[in-house]
């Protein structure tokens, strides 16, 4: 079932004003309702290579795997949907590909990438992420960050050393504690949630969130809510107006209509009380 008329997806990646090349990569599949964004790191061309491998490999694998998954099923061991498990596996495969590429070419040594993946299916979403690329949700005019950065800073905030405000003034801003392609295996954070009509999901690299604050992101979303493509261009433009120090990538997905996997009995699972 194509989600093309039910979910609107846009995406822009821009090298920004300071860097001479773009280490971010983005990719999407409108039919599947799938968005992938990666922010590469590492010397020479390593960052670009890592993020490109991640996006291509994850898209390609999920294009094959997802159509074969019968909707409404859960993995017994973990409690995650089979779709979530497929995404986790795809990220782990991408991880190994990047790791091996780095092992086989000294130019790419130490390269890695963040990744954030959003899949919309059966009126729900799965978000998978590694690193400091984020997913936000705009619902009822409020912006909520749904992913938790894998950064030293976030760890220090969680441990109570810093308040959020102090953290923003810290020097340890850009130290990522988890990345795809750095070790033979990687831990992927997964989350599942219910999608509602009019939800807008925003995926971004830190080139957006280091330049502009969450309330400005919220304002832009409110001002441009009738036009997703304009909203996307404005978010990129604002990140550049506020410095554009890094590559900046933003992808958006808007739920236009409900998208149950089937109109039949499992379109909604009523686990209780039914």
């Amino acid at each position: 079932m194509s989600l093309k008329d039910k979910i609107l997806i846009t995406g822009i990646t821009d090298e920004g004003l300071v860097r001479d090349h773009n280490e971010d990569s983005i990719g999407k599949d409108d039919e599947l309702g799938l968005l992938v964004l990666a922010d590469g790191m590492g010397g020479h061309k390593g960052g670009e290579v890592a993020s490109a491998i991640a996006v291509d490999s994850i898209l390609q694998e999920l294009r094959e795997a997802l159509p074969q998954i019968p909707p409404g099923n859960t993995d017994d061991n973990t409690g995650y949907s089979l779709e979530s498990m497929a995404i986790e596996i795809a990220i782990k495969h991408a991880n190994l590909k990047i790791y091996e590429a780095a092992q086989n070419n000294s130019k790419y040594e130490g390269m890695g990438t963040t990744v954030v993946v959003l899949l919309l299916y059966d009126n729900r979403i799965t978000v998978a992420h590694v690193g400091d690329s984020r997913l936000y949700r705009m619902r009822d005019k409020r912006l909520e960050q749904m992913t938790r950065d894998h950064t030293l800073l976030q760890e220090l905030v969680d441990r109570g050393f810093y308040t959020r405000k102090e953290a923003n003034e810290s020097l340890n801003k850009n130290l990522v504690t988890r990345a795809v392609g750095v070790n033979p295996d990687v831990d992927v954070d997964l989350l599942e949630d219910i999608a509602l009509v009019n939800d807008t999901y925003l995926l971004c690299s830190d080139g957006l969130t280091d330049m502009i604050a969450d309330d400005l992101i919220e304002d832009i979303q409110l001002n441009y809510q009738d036009n997703l493509e304009k909203m996307n261009r404005e978010l990129i433009k604002q990140a550049k107006d506020y410095g554009g120090k890094d590559n900046v990538s933003v992808m958006l997905a808007r739920v236009i209509k409900e998208f149950p996997a089937n109109s039949g009995w499992f379109s909604r699972l009523f686990d209780l009380l039914s």
Partner: protein, 235 residues
């Protein structure tokens, strides 16, 4: 590098560089910063230093650790802060901590490797950072994510029935009546309202209607969905 200046009775008695990732403060001999005074606990506090940032953490001392006059558990340090431990004062000096000296390149810390992966242009960062991250990562993060939970129904035909939350996303309700869901995230369990419609039908947690954002659930929270009351229990 940041330094500390230790004073006793208003007189500076020692100056030390913060050249280790963790420097302990206490009365016993095995501390990096040894303060021989009965008001100081055996292991009183420690200063963690990561790159150019330092943090003070009290180690459950008897008389407490004060930062600029306030009792603290843990806190980031800024230039000229005064830590008070017993009768000793420790002044933190770090004039380099200006915000202009930012690391703009994102770097990967790799706690599994010997050192850290360092990218082009990155400042030399010692491997101690990796060790600290490993310590932090193993400390307390992520544990709640796999904690099991269940729901016990308190009203309705199935009152008393317990339903384990085996799925990451469990929907609650019945067709035509408002529906909610409980989702397990790395930071714990959350209740979410699904159906639009009028606000009077929103689920309640401990008698308060939830908003459109996910509501964190704590052990023994009482949830009301579609007129049915249930208790959320962490196992």
């Amino acid at each position: 590098m940041a330094t500390i200046e230790i004073s006793f009775n208003g007189e500076v008695v020692e100056k030390l560089p913060l050249d280790k990732e963790t420097m302990t403060i206490g009365r016993k001999d095995d501390n990096d910063i040894h303060l021989d005074n009965l008001a100081v606990s055996g292991h009183h506090a420690k200063i963690l230093t990561i790159l150019n940032d330092s943090f003070i953490e009290d180690m459950n001392s008897t008389n407490g650790t004060y930062l600029n006059g306030s009792l603290i558990k843990k806190q980031a340090l800024t230039h000229n802060d005064v830590i008070k431990v017993g009768k000793h004062e420790i002044r933190y000096l770090n004039s380099d901590a200006a915000s202009g000296n930012d690391f703009e390149k994102t770097m990967i810390i790799n706690p599994d490797a010997d050192g850290m992966q360092e990218t082009e242009g990155g400042a030399a960062i010692d491997q101690s950072v990796g060790k600290i991250v490993a310590e932090i990562a193993s400390a307390d993060s992520g544990k709640s994510s796999h904690q099991k939970a269940l729901i016990r129904l308190n009203s309705g035909a199935n009152s008393g029935k317990e339903l384990p939350l085996t799925k990451v996303l469990t929907t609650l309700g019945k067709p035509g009546v408002q529906v909610a869901a409980i989702t397990r995230r790395p930071t714990g369990y959350y209740l979410i309202h699904i159906d639009g419609g009028d606000n009077s039908g929103r689920p309640k947690v401990n008698n308060i209607q939830i908003g459109s954002q996910a509501q964190a659930l704590n052990n023994e929270d009482v949830i009301e969905v579609a007129g049915v009351e249930m208790t959320f229990i962490l196992e």
